[in-house]
Every structure is written in structure tokens, then in C-alpha cells.
Symmetry: C2
Subunit: 316 residues, 2 copies
């Protein structure tokens, strides 16, 4: 079986996959079309497509689904799929597959990279070293060992973050919608969300974006964060109330680290950039070579699986 | 019991300990004298001292020990004591105590901080973020998981490095003078030194400085290092043959990270600084707040222990 028409929406052909992989994907359809983000042609292109492939953060709502009456499959080139109306897709018998776990390790390791970079003063240390200044005076550090390391959202990534934190000898606690007994047996303790926010020295936000998690980090919760704490959000910034974050950043006693994709407005970005205690990276959490290879492989396997009647990584 | 005279040699009173701690140390002797490094007064000051306190990297050889006929105790404000002739001290019934383990965690965590900073492209990422460029293009990364992580020297620090690497899911191997069965049971595998150097993706050098370990990383061994490997040396650079390192750095296919204290000559430093794939930090591996507190506490406890007839952390 083949698709009648594959519509590749909001994925840059030249940078997201290698030519060989695109060849493979082309072979899954009778024809293929590439449409950039917010193109006025989108609706017209949707009309006769049975397969839509989209990048991270692409909106596919009721409107788009309704415009694609022949749609059977949406392939997301990302783990997050919060901007796709998966319930409505299900109602319309459209299967949505994501790249579950493709970048788990890459993101989990980045979280420690970014936390340690900050808490070890590496930027200043490297600058001094390069200029031939080998004084350590004024560069201090905090150890992760024996500190409370909180993981908010014990999903695929959160679990790895918790395990690595255990390796560092941290007192690892988590909050998640559901209790995870197998992880509690490893010594990762469950804690109520507000209590965890209040007591953690390190907080890694690893929740999926959904209606109930939007702005879960609100003004009130940011005020509760422990003085001196380091927070890192590699999940979508929709989980965070920017005003609430700014109010706390102003106090100057916490650090907030994020890797920004395209989910924040220019205005919000400019607001956050003002604060030295807010470290904004490009979206480099997921960029490991291993993740890139997983992404390529799983994205293609998902399409193949669907065509063979064995859809995989279905999220709806 | 009190010392007749405490000689504080090569320790800067103003920066190494707080005033209260110096007060405590003063109370352990009838008098106290501070002598800077390479002072011409050293021999004269040694003549009537029974207690010498020294900083990291201070030379106390036969000559100094012979000059101090009343010497009973040498307190080292560091873990490393490679420049003290501990055997000759023992012969002269002088006890040498170090700060065993005071900075174990600080150094072990720094090793991962520095490795991850490099392999995640954080310097470039931060630069882009600060300038409002949120493109991840061109920033790649390697995961630690499933890679061969070699620990050379499974002492106090090496053991923690190995445990943290296990948390990251690495294939952890070690070489050490003696086999450590308890760590092998944890899944840390023993490997012959030359084989480990050849196959490791990450290599952490955690050997103590001694005659048999000097320049253990020679030209021949540097040539064996796997292409793409990241090496980090937080132990004294005396373990490394600088010419051999330079020869390999020239090939441009490995990264070497170190935190330089004062063990390298200006010439060697300048040589290494030429290479972009050699990252030189000031000695910031040991600087955590927790380590500073341990240092203060253990340094004083060592002196107290000796005076009470219960010397501790004796290295000879």
C-alpha cells in the first residue's frame, strides 16, 4: 500500500533529513508535496492528501483536519505533539504517530550539561583559561550530591534525568500525574508538586504540553521556588507563565535555563533575555548524533508501520 | 599538647581559610609563622619548627626535612602530596597528613561538567542565545550513554567518576594498579591500560602523582587514543608528557581538558594554549562550597588528631 499524496508541512527538506531518507519517504506515496509554514496554499494542498508529515511545534487543529477529508495519517517529526488536536484526529479516524523517545538520552544529558555549566562557572573559567589567567578566585560551585533534585514529570525523559541524578548522589524526588512504583523502588521519592517546588535545589521540568499542564508554573509556584535553586525547562515553554517567571527572576536568587525552539514570542524572549539569571539556549537539547539517527529511523519506520497495517508510536 | 612553632609555608593567609579557622590553628601552637613560597627565610624558619603546614604542590624534599630537625608533622592542604618526600619524612619519623577525599565530589562532578560543556557545544549555544540567535544548526553533540568511559586510576575520585558514568549509562571501564572487586561487581570492568586508552570514547585521568605514574601518558600512549575521544585530566599534569600530548593535539581529532594549577611551566602552557582542542581551565575542579568546608574542617581535624595522639589521614 502507498499513500495517494504525502504532504510535508513545515519541514525544511534541505535541513531536516538527508536526501536518501527523503527518497525513501517519497517511495511511500504516489506523489509528495512540500508546503512551508503558514502557506496560503495549505488548505488547497490538504484537500487531496491522505498523509501529513509535520515538524515540531506545527499546529494541526480542527480546521486543518477538516480541510483534509482523505487524511489517514499524521507523522510528527518530534516527541511533543501538543499543537496537534489528537482527540479530533482520533474522532476523524486519523492516526497520529510521534518519535517517542528518539531524543530521550540527548535531552537528559543536556539537562546535566546545562545545569553543571552554570553551577560550575565554566563560562568564566574558560574565558580565564583562554586569556592565560589561571586564578580560581571568585569561581565557586555547588555540588549536586546530597541536594534535592526534583523531576517534574516522570515520563521517558524525566525517568532518565532521575536516574542520572541518582548517579550523582542527589536526593531525587519527582512529581508526576501518576505514581511510578518501579522508579520509587530505585530510590526516587514521590512528592506533592508544590512541596517539591518549595524544597528542590534543582528542578527539571519534563512534562508534556497539554491543557492541564499549560502555565502549570504560574506566579504563585515561581514564588515558592527555593532561593538559590536552578530550574531547567527542556519541555515547551507553554508550561510556564512568563510574567510569573519574570517576577521571580527579578529577585535575582534563582537561575532558569531553557532551550528555546519557536514556542515563545519575540516579546517574551526579549523580556527573559534581560535577566542574567535566565540562560536561553537554542534548541540544542535534542541535537545529539544518536538522536538524529533515531529520528530519521523512527520517522520512516512509523510511516512504514502504518502502511503495513501496524501503526506504531500512536499517540491518539 | 601544643606545637612549639607552626610554620605555614606557601599558604596565603588571606585567601585559603577564614580568620576564625586561622585563630583555631594558631591555638595549636605556641607561635605561628607565615612564609611565602621560595622565601630565602625558609631554612632559617624550619630550624625550630615542629609543624609545617603547606598548600597544594609545595615541595618538601630531603633538604627541607633535614633543615627541620624538630619536625614532627606536615599538614598538606590538598589531596595530592606528590611533591613531598613522604618516604624520607617517614624515615625521620615525621607524619604527613593530607585532605583525603575533601574534594572528591567537587572534582568528580567537574569532570562531567567539563566533558559535557565541550561535547554539547554549550559555549557556542550560550553565545547564540545571548545574541538572540536561536538556530541550532551546526551544533551537534555526542551522548555519553553506551560509549566506553575509561577511568584511569580507580582511587577515591576515580570511583565516583565511574559511578556517575554508570548513571549516564556508559560502558564504564577502569585501569588501576590494583583490581577493585567491589567496583567490578557494580559493572565497572577492568581493562589493561593500553587497551583502555585505545578503545575509550571518554578518558578521565585520576591517578595520583608518583614516580611510577610520571609521564605515564607518553607519546606512544597518546598516539593510541581513539579518534574523537575526549580526555580530561584533573590530576597533576606531571602524569602527561607535554610533547606527546602536543603531537596528538596537532592531529586535531581528540580533545584534551585540564584544570591547571601551578604545575606547568609558562612554556608548556603557551604550547598547549595554541590548540583549540585543548581546553585549559583554572583549577576550578575542587572549588565547590562543600569542598571548601570539608577542607577547612579536615585540615584542622588532622592537626588536632595529631596533637591528641590520634593522627588521621596519614599518607606515609
Amino acid at each position: 500500500m502507498k499513500f495517494k499524496k504525502i504532504l510535508v508541512y513545515n519541514i525544511d527538506r534541505s535541513k531536516n533529513l538527508d536526501p536518501k531518507s527523503w527518497k525513501t519517504i517519497e517511495s511511500f506515496g504516489e506523489k509528495i508535496a512540500f508546503v512551508p509554514k503558514d502557506s496560503p496554499k495549505l488548505k488547497q494542498e490538504l484537500a487531496d492528501t491522505d498523509c501529513v508529515l509535520v515538524a515540531f511545534g506545527t499546529v494541526i487543529g480542527k480546521e486543518e483536519i477538516n480541510a483534509a477529508s482523505k487524511l489517514k495519517y499524521i507523522g510528527v517529526m518530534a516527541t511533543a505533539f501538543g499543537k496537534i488536536d489528537t482527540n479530533y484526529a482520533k474522532k476523524k479516524k486519523v492516526i497520529v504517530s510521534n518519535l517517542k523517545g528518539y531524543s530521550t538520552e540527548s535531552v537528559a544529558e543536556f539537562i546535566f550539561a546545562a545545569i553543571l555549566e552554570q553551577s560550575r562557572g565554566l563560562e568564566e573559567g574558560k574565558r580565564r583559561g583562554k586569556s592565560g589567567n589561571y586564578s580560581e578566585i571568585g569561581i565557586s560551585a555547588n555540588e549536586i550530591k546530597d541536594k534535592i533534585f526534583g523531576v517534574i514529570g516522570l515520563g521517558t525523559i524525566g525517568k532518565r534525568v532521575a536516574e542520572i541524578a541518582l548517579g550523582f548522589g542527589a536526593n531525587v524526588k519527582y512529581w508526576s500525574k501518576n505514581r511510578k512504583n518501579d522508579y520509587e523502588k530505585k530510590g526516587i521519592k514521590y512528592e506533592a508538586l508544590d512541596k517539591l517546588i518549595k524544597e528542590a535545589d534543582y528542578l527539571s521540568i519534563n512534562l508534556a504540553q497539554a491543557k492541564e499542564t499549560e502555565k502549570i508554573f504560574d506566579k504563585n509556584r515561581f514564588q515558592k521556588v527555593k532561593s538559590g535553586a536552578v530550574l531547567i525547562n527542556t519541555a515547551p515553554m507553554e508550561l510556564v507563565d512568563i510574567d510569573g517567571l519574570e517576577l521571580r527572576l527579578k529577585k535575582g536568587d534563582i537561575t532558569f535555563i531553557l532551550d528555546h525552539s519557536d514556542e515563545m514570542s519575540e516579546k517574551d524572549l526579549k523580556t527573559l533575555l534581560k535577566y542574567k539569571n535566565c540562560i536561553i539556549y537554542p534548541p540544542i537539547a535534542y541535537v545529539s548524533k544518536e538522536a538524529a539517527e533515531n529520528r530519521r529511523r523512527i520517522f520512516i519506520e512509523n510511516i512504514e508501520g502504518f502502511l503495513k497495517g501496524k501503526p506504531q508510536n500512536v499517540v491518539n
